[in-house]
């Protein structure tokens, strides 16, 4: 430690480095070009009369539009609920040792993933003419009652079933991948503790699979929101896109109403993204990254996570 020592502080680690930052002119140029182009586009959009912004503003909060948005949300949520139930069932069936169960699940996924959702929606719309009546009873023996399909398979329910069953095939694969991603040691440890198959699945496998399932499932949820614009194939006309186009047809102004519909789709997507963010956070508990901060912090900060355990007194 010769002369240099006198200039250094007591410990070299005490002083933070304040280095001169490397100039990065390329970044500034790129940013400037992009901002310039964006400004030009916004200027043209604001001044181009084809966009008819006054019509846009007039119909943005129109009751028919907000009603249609609500119906679109209903279509999305119910279809995804069906997809989740069907998807979980087919994923469990596909992972089953029973060749009949896994074969049937494979067949379902093959058909519903292998044909266009638009075609499937048309089919569901035609179901009432294919099966006009459904007999309830023991086949070829007794008939308890006869149901008129027309009366319960409304266009709305046909749309929801069509969307849900199509999506269920994709969801099954997402769930299967999620379950397969959980280390087999987890199942073993759980079984070795005497937990049943159901307890192991629900308490150990499922929460860990969720981490892998949620991002693609969130994606599919957002995708479903937009796929609902195809329900005219059934035909069901209550959704956001069809309603906006019906208004546009009367006004002869398709562009501002396309913008209105797009604004609503974007707004709903944003809400879904926020929900997804919180779900992901909820199911990433205990995973390195979120844990690293807590390790340095006090254990007191972690205490809330433990509440459910101490709660039960």
């Amino acid at each position: 430690m010769p002369r240099g020592d006198s200039r250094q502080p007591a410990a070299p680690g005490d002083e933070r480095i304040h280095a001169v930052r490397l100039p990065r002119p390329g970044r500034w140029v790129a940013a400037a070009v992009i901002i310039g182009l964006l400004a030009l586009f916004l200027y043209s959009a604001a001044t181009n009369s084809a966009y008819q912004w006054s019509t846009y503003l007039q119909y943005l909060l129109d009751r028919r539009i907000s009603q249609a948005a609500l119906i679109t949300i209903q279509l999305t949520v119910i279809a995804m609920a069906i997809a989740l139930v069907v998807g979980v069932a087919s994923a469990v069936m596909r992972l089953s040792d029973n060749p009949v169960l896994s074969g049937v699940a494979w067949l379902y996924i093959w058909i519903f993933r292998g044909t266009p959702v638009y075609v499937q929606l048309v089919f569901w719309g035609l179901l009432t003419s294919i099966y006009q009546q459904v007999d309830v009873g023991i086949p070829f023996v007794v008939q308890f009652t006869q149901l008129d399909t027309e009366s319960w398979l409304t266009p709305f329910s046909a749309a929801v079933i069509g969307l849900g069953l199509n999506q269920g095939a994709y969801t099954a694969e997402i769930i299967r991948a999620g379950v397969s991603s959980v280390d087999d040691g987890q199942r073993e440890a759980s079984v070795a503790l005497g937990m049943s198959w159901a307890q192991t699945t629900r308490r150990v496998i499922f929460p860990q699979a969720m981490r892998v399932i949620i991002p693609p499932f969130g994606n599919e949820f957002i995708g479903m929101l937009k796929t609902t614009s195809l329900v005219i194939a059934v035909p069901f006309t209550g959704d956001l896109y069809t309603q906006s186009q019906q208004i546009a047809a009367v006004l002869y102004r398709p562009i501002p109403l396309l913008l209105v519909a797009s604004t609503w789709y974007l707004a709903i997507t944003t809400l879904l993204m926020i929900g997804q963010h919180y779900l992901e956070k909820r199911f990433s508990r205990g995973v390195a990254g979120t844990g690293a901060q807590a390790r340095n912090g006090s254990t007191a900060a972690e205490e809330p996570a433990e509440l459910p355990i101490t709660d039960g007194r």
Partner: protein, 266 residues
Amino acid sequence: MSERAILERAGQATQPMVRAQDVRKSFQDTEVLKGISLEVQTSEVMCLVGPSGSGKSTFLRCINHLEAVDGGRLYVDGTLVGYDERDGRLHELHPRRAAAQRRDIGMVFQRFNLFPHMTALGNITEAPVRVRKDSRRAATEHGRELLERVGLGGHASSYPSQLSGGQQQRVAIARALAMRPKLMLFDEPTSALDPELVGEVLDVMRSLAESGMTMIVVTHEMGFAREVGDHLVFMDDGVVVEAGSPRSVLTDPQHERTRSFLSKVL
């Protein structure tokens, strides 16, 4: 029937905790266990050693029916594992009864297998609450005692990812103990640990042995086997090659295979 009753009564006093009779197990065409017979008495510690692939882990997994045996009989505390013997035939156990058998047998894995989405305490209380239907409060109290016992009293709310390997394995031991098992199985509990963390896990196991727990330990830690083990079994290629007191097997092996294995690990 009467013969069995007499046998059972006679066995009461000295009934071994684990009794294996000619246990066999194959995976596809490979026979992994070629007739293992051994006994572990209550409160004994048996160490299973041998080269990898010798079948010692498979045997351990057969004891709590994580693997089903193909031949022979395996009894834990006098009860046949995994099957019911009626009318001269073996019947597969309903999963519920197989699970009930596992309840009393704790298992510690090489790679800990803690549940990453639960805190240390959550890992420990899960099975008592779900399987034994203990009250949440009693399970938590017992769980905290166990954490204290493995020297992790301050880590109840830590997630596994926040703990070192040695700490995780100690939580895993506490998790197994939470079911108040009568037998503990250890499957190479220190093999996945950094060398400096091995000691803390072995210390916990040593104190567990001193408390009278019956233990079967698959291990490469010959020092532990010598100090803590009551019996040492050397397995190779699916058979028991040599068994005896750890001291005699380790210092005076009778078989060539034992000698050559020990010369590599000691």
